[in-house]
């Protein structure tokens, strides 16, 4: 009991209670309704999924990092060069440990997967992701009331939840919204373009309601991104297998020498090869999508303070998933180039 009365503990509890109170009273973050497919964003004549925009952002980040780090390479590294060198050297040594003389061949694939997944995962944690976008209306989704911050800029509040039924047929298929939940401070302003705002429906209380379609959404929350990576990864596994062992590589899948048992094992190998594509893509997708939902819910429950530890967790998860994807790819590469018969 004496422990609990410690001034530090009491202070922390008090601050937390205050944060809960203030954030429930003054900053209300609606719970976003979550959907699997990426939301399309209309940018003039172009319509791109927001996850693809995030992928392009990741590309730019990675390339900028690369250019900045290699702009003036010096034997005595400093700053960015040091960090990237550490990562690249570490990965290269790891690749050498696992793949031996094939390291130079495998390394670009593994390293690029790691960098792309890592950077795109960490982008998700930047305030503004999933928080800034168009106000739209999609029947069947939960709408929330809008508040005008200043002309042209609106924000959603956790009030007057309303689900319109009929309405805009064109938008009905791709209904979408997410929230300003990402910003710790609870500021969740969403731009609302005039044209979009014009067609917003009203709820029973007569207030304008909308769903938010964010401009940016973590790339790995789109199965296209994760599936593309896993397809590349598993295609290269087959490619290196054939390159190293010739057509004999396929004897792993169509095993006629090992009798009935061998044939059966070959069938299982074939299935597992396809299963790897699925497990690759759904592992990454599931982890990052789940993390995103976790952050949404935490910000909905208590917009202030509570999400902070989960940001730390997601930072870790983002790194681990990138590492796992890269390492599994590397291991599959390494296994593919080893002759199957050597094991017996």
């Amino acid at each position: 009991m004496g422990r609990l009365l410690n001034p530090k503990v009491l202070g922390a509890l008090f601050i937390f209670a205050l944060a809960v109170y203030i954030s429930r009273t003054y900053v209300s973050v609606p719970l976003p309704s979550i959907q699997l497919p990426a939301e399309p964003i209309h940018l003039g004549p172009l319509t791109l999924p927001n996850t693809f925009i995030a992928t392009l952002l990741t590309d730019i980040t990675v390339l900028l990092l690369a250019f900045a780090a290699t702009r003036k390479l010096s034997l005595v590294p400093s700053g960015l060069q040091n960090i990237l060198e550490m990562a690249i050297e570490g990965f290269y040594n790891l690749t050498e440990d696992i793949a031996g003389h094939n390291a130079a061949k495998f390394f670009p694939w593994v390293m690029t997967i790691f960098l792309m997944v890592l950077i795109s995962n960490w982008w998700e944690l930047v305030p503004g992701f999933d928080a800034i976008g168009w106000m739209e209306s999609h029947p069947g989704m939960t709408h929330y009331e809008t508040r005008q911050v200043f002309p042209g800029l609106k924000t959603l509040v956790n009030e007057g939840a309303y689900t319109p039924t009929g309405g805009h047929g064109e938008e009905a298929a791709e209904g979408e919204h997410e929230d300003a939940t990402e910003t710790e401070a609870g500021e969740h302003t969403e731009e609302a373009a005039g044209e979009h705002a014009a067609g917003l429906p009203k709820n029973e209380a007569g207030n304008e309601v909308a769903v938010l379609v964010p401009f940016l959404r973590a790339a790995a929350t789109d199965l296209n991104f994760t599936l593309a990576l896993s397809l590349i990864s598993m295609f290269m596994v087959q490619y290196y297998g054939v390159q190293a062992l010739g057509l004999g590589y396929f004897s792993k899948f169509l095993n006629l020498k090992g009798g009935v048992m061998g044939f059966f094992v070959g069938v299982i190998e074939t299935i597992s090869e396809f299963a790897k594509v699925l497990s690759f893509s759904f592992r990454l997708f599931g982890n990052i999508f789940g993390g995103q939902v976790l952050l949404f819910v935490m910000a909905y429950l208590v917009p202030w303070l509570l999400p902070v530890p989960f940001y730390g967790l997601e930072l870790f998860v983002g790194f681990i998933q990138a590492f796992v994807f890269a390492m599994l790819t590397l291991v599959f590469f390494a296994v593919a180039v080893i002759s199957h018969d050597d094991h017996h």
């Binding site: 699997l36 693809f52 390339l63 290699t70 690249i88 670009p108 390293m111 199965l223 296209n224």
Partner: protein
């Protein structure tokens, strides 16, 4: 597939995107950086071996120096010992010579003294003989003419007197 959001154009776009990024990274990041790492490794290896050589050289030189110093010390001690021995020997010599010289001086002095005493004795004897002759002449008068015989008698008396 539609429900999962998988759509062929964007799947292909993602694949192409990845391949492009990988090519760019390979050109602008991996190659230069791995080359740099290799260069540095080479440089470090060279420096280490150079340092190793320098260290060995320094050790050799050190050993040589120590040997030289030790030899010098040994020589110095030899010189000091010799000097001390010489000094002692000279001391003994000087003392012996001095003693000898002193002996010589003393002997010479003793010889001189003895000679002088003999001379003195001889002259004294002569004097005494003359005196006693004069005394005898005075007392006896001119009776004794034979001067030579007289001297001989005195001589005999004196010689007998000394016996």
């Amino acid at each position: 597939m539609e429900q999962l959001g998988i759509n062929l154009p964007f799947l292909v776009a993602q694949i192409i995107n990845f391949l492009v990024i990988m090519t760019l990274l390979r050109m602008f990041l991996y190659k230069p950086m791995l080359n740099m790492l290799e260069t540095r490794r080479e440089r470090i290896r060279e420096s280490l071996s150079a340092a190793e050589t320098a260290k060995a050289e320094a050790a050799t030189r050190n050993r040589e120096n120590e040997e030289i110093i030790a030899q010098a010390r040994r020589e110095a001690q030899d010189i000091i010992r010799q000097a001390q021995e010489n000094a002692k020997r000279q001391e003994v010599d000087i003392l012996a010579q001095a003693r000898q010289e002193a002996d010589t001086v003393r002997q010479r002095a003793e010889g001189d003294i003895a000679q002088e005493r003999q001379q003195a004795m001889a002259s004294l004897r002569d004097e005494v003989a003359q005196l006693s002759l004069a005394i005898a002449r005075k007392t006896i008068g001119a009776s004794l003419v034979n001067e030579q015989a007289h001297s001989r008698i005195v001589e005999e008396i004196l010689a007998g007197g000394t016996k």
